[in-house]
Amino acid sequence: MISRAVLLILLPVIAGVSLFQRRRLSAVIGMGLFSFVLAATYLLHSAPDVAVTEAAIGAALATVIYVLAIRRTGRLFVVGDEVPGLLALEGGEFAGIEVDILDGFARRLGLDLSIQIVPHRDVETILLQGDADLGAGGLSAELPARLHRSRDHLPTALVRLRPRAGIGAASEEAPATARCEYPGYFSDLVEAFQRNDPVEATLDMARFLAISRTDISGWSVDRLPAPRGYAFVTAPKREDLRDQLSAYIDELESNGSLDEIIRRHLP
């Protein structure tokens, strides 16, 4: 009798606790726990058939469907290519200035940060398709009008690298694209430079510094008129996210954490 009373008291308590969870995942797990206790209650009230069904549906299947649903909405999905110092994979973990900023921002929103490395060229397409919330990875150029650019967090410049041997007349005349531009992933580009492949690339400062550690005597280096600094980009119709992120960067700057983050990753 007492145990039934205990379970019955537990039910509203667990329901209340899961209702007031800030993280969606915690709330869903709370609901799963609620179903589990409810199944136990049914069992003690002589309804084993209902208990089995409640345990299977409520605690297992419904929880999984909720988790699948919030895997997209319960996290801040960021795409971008690697940039040494800003967004880099170090021993299986992401590290860098942008990672620190985004990590704090995701925590502020109660979301889980999820970063996926994609080729730099594809970031815009992925954002325009609405497959990600934020673009990162050393974005400095002007963007299509439908995407929204947050405030800058670090100044940068653009550098164009062209193989000396392969400079044709057309290439000489070609106007400098005022944006970071290279084929594929950044890690592939580094390998291409190490192999001395005649690739042409326009790089931002952080990427150029990383590339310049290899021998680039075979390339001509031009500094292009500097665009704006590094920023994040949000998907179409996500002005709210852009404004929140800009406000968050403002806040980091005013309390000095931004300087501290930059000094930690760019000594």
């Binding site: 039934r4 136990a40 058939d49 089995v52 297992a60 299947l61 469907i65 699948l68 649903a69």
Partner: protein, 232 residues
């Protein structure tokens, strides 16, 4: 630190609930049975009175429950198939521990689902709960060997056609007694020795059909969710 405290709290709470259930699990007395319950159990050959009611005396209600489930599956597929598929080249890798434990657990859970379905007329269980338990086994299978592998194997077996054929088969089982000059929704097959697995063939047949229907329907809902809403 906070995480450890939470984990300890959750585990303690689960243990307390399990403890209460084990401590108090002497009941199945419940409210007194109505007088004709023994009669019903004998008539259908199913000692589990719940099964005897929802697949015997109240089969008409159950038919509409199956209809509701079918409509839910159609609804999920109708709305989610309009969304673009979210198939990504490299989905988030699950942790190795999860993968290995899922590999060990899923055959056991599938068998448990089969047991619940086939013994639903003797003990707690039945087609609905057995089907859902088997579907969660299938989900573990997805976690261990990947959604595409499972999907290819299952659609190779023609389960989508089966999903739409099963409600028809269930209705056919309910209507078929008419052909033998008996009232609609009555037991198609004669009741045998009560308490035996094949003691109530009619309920066993319905349970198996419903179990399959629920398993395939839940799998299709899960698969559509995975493909068009999230990833696994």
């Amino acid at each position: 630190m906070k995480r450890i405290v939470r984990t300890v709290l959750a585990v303690t709470l689960s243990l307390v609930v399990c403890g209460i259930v084990i401590f108090d699990l002497t009941i199945p007395e419940g409210p007194p049975r109505p007088d004709d319950s023994e009669l019903l159990a004998a008539k259908t050959g199913a000692p589990n009175l719940v099964s005897a009611i929802y697949l015997g005396a109240r089969l008409y209600d159950t038919l509409f429950e199956i209809l509701v489930f079918t409509v839910a599956v159609i609804g999920v597929r109708f709305y989610l198939l309009q969304r673009p598929s979210t198939a990504r080249p490299d989905p988030i890798p699950e942790s190795h521990v999860l993968q290995v434990s899922a590999q060990i657990l899923y055959p056991l859970i599938l068998i448990l689902g089969l047991y619940l379905t086939c013994f639903g007329h003797l003990s707690p269980g039945g087609g609905f709960s057995g089907g859902v338990v088997a579907a969660s086994g299938l989900l573990l299978c997805v976690m261990s060997i990947g959604v595409d592998t499972v999907y290819c194997r299952l659609s190779g077996a023609g389960i989508e056609q089966l999903e739409w054929a099963l409600p028809m088969m269930i209705v056919a089982v309910c209507v078929l007694p008419l052909a033998f000059g008996r009232p609609i929704l009555s037991n198609l097959l004669p009741a045998g020795q009560a308490g035996h697995v094949f003691g109530s063939l009619s309920i066993l047949l319905l349970n198996v059909l419903i179990g399959l229907k629920v398993l395939i329907g839940s799998w299709m809902v899960l698969h559509t969710f995975i493909r068009h809403r999230g990833e696994i």
